[in-house]
Amino acid sequence: MSKQNSRSIAASLATAACSLLGTSTVAPVQAQEEPGWDFNTALLYYGESDGRVQDFSLNVLANRAFVDDRILSLGLTVDSLTGATPSGALPFDGPQTFTRPSGKAVYTTSANEIPLDDSFLDTRVALTAGWAQPFARLYTFNAGLSASKEYDYVHIGGNAGLSRDFNKRNTTLSLGLAYAQDSLNPEGGTPVPLSPMLDVGDLSNRMGDQDKDVVDVVLGLTQVVNRNLLFQFNYSLSQSSGYLNDPFKFLSLVDPVSGDPVSHTPAPGISGPSHEYRFESRPDERTKHSVYGQAKYYMSGKVLDLSYRYMTDDWEIDSHTLDARYRWPLGDRRYLEPHVRWYTQTAADFYRISLVDGAAPLEFASADYRLGEFDAITVGMKYGWKTRSDNEMSVRLEYYMQDGTAPSDQIIGNQAGRDLYPDLDAIIAQFSYRF
């Protein structure tokens, strides 16, 4: 079996090992003259401005090659998350008080600020394990398991894939299947969709633990064009079912004329929300289709990596993602790699910036900014080098920015002059070591 083929097996395996955690990767391991361990490690800082989400993350992916190009892959990720995140409520001229997701206390946000829920504190541990091996000369089989645990969220998943080489191994067709079952058990319970935010201590609108299932199918074609160019095309189908809400997101109930939130008076002697809020309601099914293309082109030592993805789903979200990387060698042992990514999406058909008091009830509504219409840009730079012992290190720094717009036909009265969409600015800083 060739060294190249060994890498393609490792790539399949890493895909299997990582992808169920929303971290799909096609990974080469270092070509191994002799079987042994190969460790990819990274420390990550992800930080959003304005006191929003901060994540420190440790990542380890270990690959062990055995004879006959059989490969074991083990992954560990530990995330430490803090900070605040937009709740979905609209800003307003006065302060707003909200009951915490646990139902045990309240918090207050200042006038004219986009309300953030600051009760965001979590540690996430994720594990992956995968196995890949060739068989019948031109086939490679892989299978994997994944699991992750947060304070109020558990994920388990499995995946399997098969690929076959054609045309002197210049063409590879692959099929991958994955199944995940996730369980949500937020403190205080999951809120009934569209139910009102209640006073402290009142959990009558809460349900028990909720589940969701995700089935993924990926069909892939990889083609070597010539000595310097190869490309990949994928088609992906992803079906989610079950509880697809974010239990921490809600919408403001607003006056139909002024657009201001409707006041709420808590029961005597009890803390509670200052205004009327309704928990979000998403459909319990979602089907996504994606097509993905990637090209890698070698130009006298420099490598251009271009990819494009189109996604469409039955929530009426369409998105386009363009990604470009240019690896620029500085001598034999160092390189620079600028990176640009551009993303745009349309809003889900049930995206609402608020609910209107007295209007006909809606079946589905969410003010989650991630379901709204926005563009995003990432720009970054990576610098990599080889150590004296031929291990690899790299640092990268990136800036990620989202710029969204509230649908003009949903803006009512006083809302017109307010900041209705929580734009996002974030820094991604990473140190990687491979040995």
Partner: protein, 77 residues
């Protein structure tokens, strides 16, 4: 819905098969793989970094997957 999905899948399989047969005129001989064997020419050069990025964008955008499975695995979306 299921019929639509089946039809789309069939169309994609057909296209991939057609593309694969069309691809038979492309490619290199085994001894011409020196450049393709370089680490920087792998489709994913850094699997951990790719995983980190997929996780970030999965958490902040309504799209995921494409390169591989879209999956779940996080309470962040």
């Amino acid at each position: 819905m299921r019929r639509l999905v089946t039809a789309r899948l069939s169309a994609v399989v057909f296209c991939l098969a057609a593309a694969a047969s069309g691809c038979s005129s492309m490619g290199v001989e085994p001894w011409e793989r020196d450049v393709l064997a370089k680490e920087e020419m792998q489709l994913t050069t850094d699997p951990v970094e790719a995983g980190i990025d997929d996780h970030i964008y999965f958490s902040k955008e309504a799209s995921s997957g494409g390169r591989g499975f879209g999956g779940g695995g996080c309470g962040c979306n």
